[in-house]
Subunit: 502 residues, 2 copies
């Protein structure tokens, strides 16, 4: 009755993203690649929105070149990426043909497994990307963003899993970005999916470790039949990161479940990143302990530091408790979105505004869009009065259709815009870089020839690159994915507000 549990190693993407603000340079990963390739992982997560962003914003690294390097150095491994559905790796919806091109190019450059998610769990935002992956013959993994609310039941999640299966997904990911997945629901959810979608449905479980309970959740998920679990090598684990790979291996000893992992290789990988990590000390997450308050507040650590920073700027740091109380209200008014990028920032900023200026007296453009359906459908109904205020502020109507259906074919226009930039090499990859990060790509293209920067080696080299122009967001030290620029309308006046960690 022994069963093999497969493992995805996260250290090359979510591990350093969660603990070192995504700043790790490729050259600090290269020496570990052979051991990772030979250790016996099911897949190696190594690419996603924040790593792509950090490559061009901070590291002067071509993210496509990084991908090709991984492909070359890990010939025996499935490379895995995290894809934000219709948003790709950017912050807006893209028209379907752009989504297709991105998937094609990623597959061509070596990607094997596409984990596709949508912050609102709106399946319409996942369909096009998943279809594209299926067409390339690569592994399409449909994702459930796990959260808790009065409306988020095991049955609803299981129903979503069935819809993802119907789209042709080869596996279903339960993505617990805020470490809210306790052991019992982990068990119930995996069991529910297996029962509803068939025992042969591959269930892949991704949990963070912020609340300290999720290694137990992995145990329970495995007992319920989970096939693959995500961990990060111990020297880049825990806190707002993930459970340690080695601990998973040891946990299973004697239980009848085993991994295929080679402990000697794991030790070498551990030692490598243990040596590298201290060089990135200035980028360390503040959240290296255990934060069970998240269960009650629903507010991930990164989101709290964002809100604290906003309050401080307004000289209202003492209002943080009011804001923490307001967040669940705003979330309820918005139909209980999961709190994950970008919904976490949108809801958090609106909570700050509500506390400082009165409830919904000022709205961010993004919050208005969320209320009006421009990010997609939420699980619960949205508050009609707030929707009305949003429509008035944004001067547009609510929609119920798929947001991307509003978009016209845009590839040629995106291509033209990219090709006009100094340093653009004319490839589809460059066009995609510019399409997803229009504010950052021009500088990157212009400077690319200077080669990669490693921010770790000397303290003085770790200073942020100078801003290229007034419109460009300044370089913060926080995780890339936490910086969002809002258009804020107060009465008739529009303000641009950039939110980033302190």
């Amino acid at each position: 009755m022994s069963r093999t549990v497969e493992v995805t190693e996260l250290v090359l993407r979510d591990g350093h993203q969660s603990l070192l603000a995504t700043r790790m340079a490729l050259e600090d990963m290269v020496p570990a690649c052979e051991d990772i390739d030979q250790a016996g992982y099911w897949s190696v997560e190594c690419w996603g929105g924040a790593t792509y962003d950090a490559c061009i914003r901070f590291l002067n690294e071509d993210p496509w070149e990084r991908l090709r390097t991984f492909r070359k150095l890990m010939p025996n491994s499935r490379l895995q990426m995290l894809l934000r559905g219709q948003n790709l790796l950017g912050y807006r919806h893209y028209e379907d043909s752009v989504v297709e091109r991105f998937v094609d190019k990623s597959a061509e450059n070596g990607m094997d497994v596409f984990r596709v998610f949508d912050a609102l769990n709106d399946i319409r935002n996942l369909r096009q990307a998943l279809k594209a992956v299926v067409r390339t013959g690569k592994h399409a993994e449909g994702t459930i963003c796990y959260t808790t609310s009065p409306l988020h039941t095991i049955d609803r999640f299981v129903e979503l899993a069935q819809q993802l299966r119907d789209l042709g997904c080869q596996s279903i990911c339960i993505k617990d970005m805020a470490a809210l997945l306790r052991p019992q629901p982990a068990y119930d959810l995996v069991k529910g999916i297996k029962e509803k979608c068939g025992q042969d449905t591959v269930v892949h479980v991704h949990v963070h470790s912020t609340t300290g309970v999720t290694l137990v959740s992995l145990m329970k998920a495995i007992e319920a039949g989970a096939d693959i679990v995500d961990t990060s090598i111990s020297s880049l684990s825990l806190g707002s990161g993930h459970n340690p790979t080695e601990a998973l291996v040891e946990m299973l000893e004697g239980t009848g479940y085993t991994t295929r992992l080679d402990k000697a290789r794991l030790l070498k990988i551990k030692e490598h990143f243990g040596k590298i990590r201290p060089r990135y000390a200035e980028f360390e997450s503040k959240y290296i302990g255990v934060e069970t308050e998240i269960f009650d507040s629903q507010i991930p650590g990164g989101m709290i530091s964002n809100m604290e920073s906003q309050l401080k700027q307004q000289g209202a740091a003492d209002r943080i408790k009011d804001v923490l109380t307001e967040v669940p209200n705003v979330r309820k008014d918005a139909g209980y979105p999961p709190l994950v990028t970008p919904s976490s920032q949108i809801v958090g900023t609106q909570a700050v505004f509500n506390v400082l200026m009165g409830r919904y007296k000022a709205l961010t453009g993004e919050f208005a869009d969320l209320m009006l359906g421009y990010y997609g459908e939420t699980i619960g109904p949205r508050d009609p009065a707030v929707m009305e205020a949003a429509a008035k502020h944004a001067k547009k109507e609510a929609i119920t259709g798929r947001p991307a259906d509003l978009l016209k074919p845009e590839w040629e226009e995106l291509r033209g815009a990219a090709l006009a930039l100094k340093g653009c090499n004319g490839s589809d990859e460059d066009v995609l870089t510019h399409a997803m990060f229009p504010q950052v790509a021009p500088t990157f293209f212009a400077q690319r020839a200077n080669g990669p920067k490693n921010l770790s080696k000397k303290p003085e080299a770790a200073k942020p690159a100078p801003a290229a122009g007034a419109g460009k967001p300044t370089d913060g030290k926080g995780p890339v994915q936490q910086r969002v620029t809002y258009q804020v309308k107060i009465g008739d006046k529009s303000h641009q507000v950039t939110v980033e960690p302190a």
Copy 2:
């Protein structure tokens, strides 16, 4: 089918002992006592060998006064201590009447629960202390030191549990000081004890978190029927410490198991120690990550740093791998003792000697004593050739009886010695302090009137107190319990070697 799981809070003893080298001053604990008292714990561990030692060695605090303060501030709580059987809180065996006096005085000053252990699991070293506790009417908890070896089977541990029950213990503790207790043996062991000793046998599980798997072990222990588990508040948890109390509470949500703990109180306790901890930064354990290598090497983190320090002093830092390979050999030759203070230091130092000077060419006096039975019986047979060498070096024969049976009544002599010291107040408590820490007590008695020192507040105040005389071990910064002085005989010459962390 809901069942209440009881919890022992460790932060006032093992929590700061494992993470802050036992340096926390009473005044930094006092503000948390009301919340701890009201939070709903089964017991509060707050006293033991290292805290006692640190009080008189570093903090100029009377440990008995600390105990009385806890008693006063936590009137609703069971206070719990860790007692080294016949060693009490010291490093040698004491004659039975001294053991009885210590237990009586501890009970009188407010102790409720006595967790009694022996490093070799030799029940003869536990009997007297447990009998004394039973006589006082306080709670006697018999302890199994958990370890792994070819001889340590679930059945052997269960047999030991039965023997402890037969001595009148009200509960059985499984003490996993090195975080070696994986989930499956945790389940099997608790289940085995319940089946053999009766379902009403109270099983209390103590695990450290060093290997990262033991919160899962607690889950499994609870599923098997464990009644009480040990945790430490999250802001002083993990690494070489323990699993976070709040994570335990959250882990159980929805499982049918619950604790009686008040989450609002836990948050206040967490915040308090979160504020205090950074002030003790210089005493922080190096082991704040996850170390699964311990499973293979059997060598706890603190022991590795000891051996590294010894090798460095000999200019042989590059031999550490040889030493790590030698430790399991020495352990086998010594009959597989659990590696816990003092056996971990004794075995580790001998492994260093074996590597540097040839196998058993030089022996420490303590290692000879261990081989000759002067610490008690080991689970396995000891190597006859090494025993012979030990007898030759130590110029004494092996014994098979209970070590304390060799001792003559010593209370009056101990009393006389203590009373002769300047500053001794003539109480039995002072006599016990001197009996257990004869090298430290004279200075403490002489300086006691100056009042407690808090090593945390200013960096310059954190310097170690000056040594009182040539024979006194120097004050290191490592955990108190890791410093051991050895008499080393090489040929005919005797050397005194003090081992402490780097």
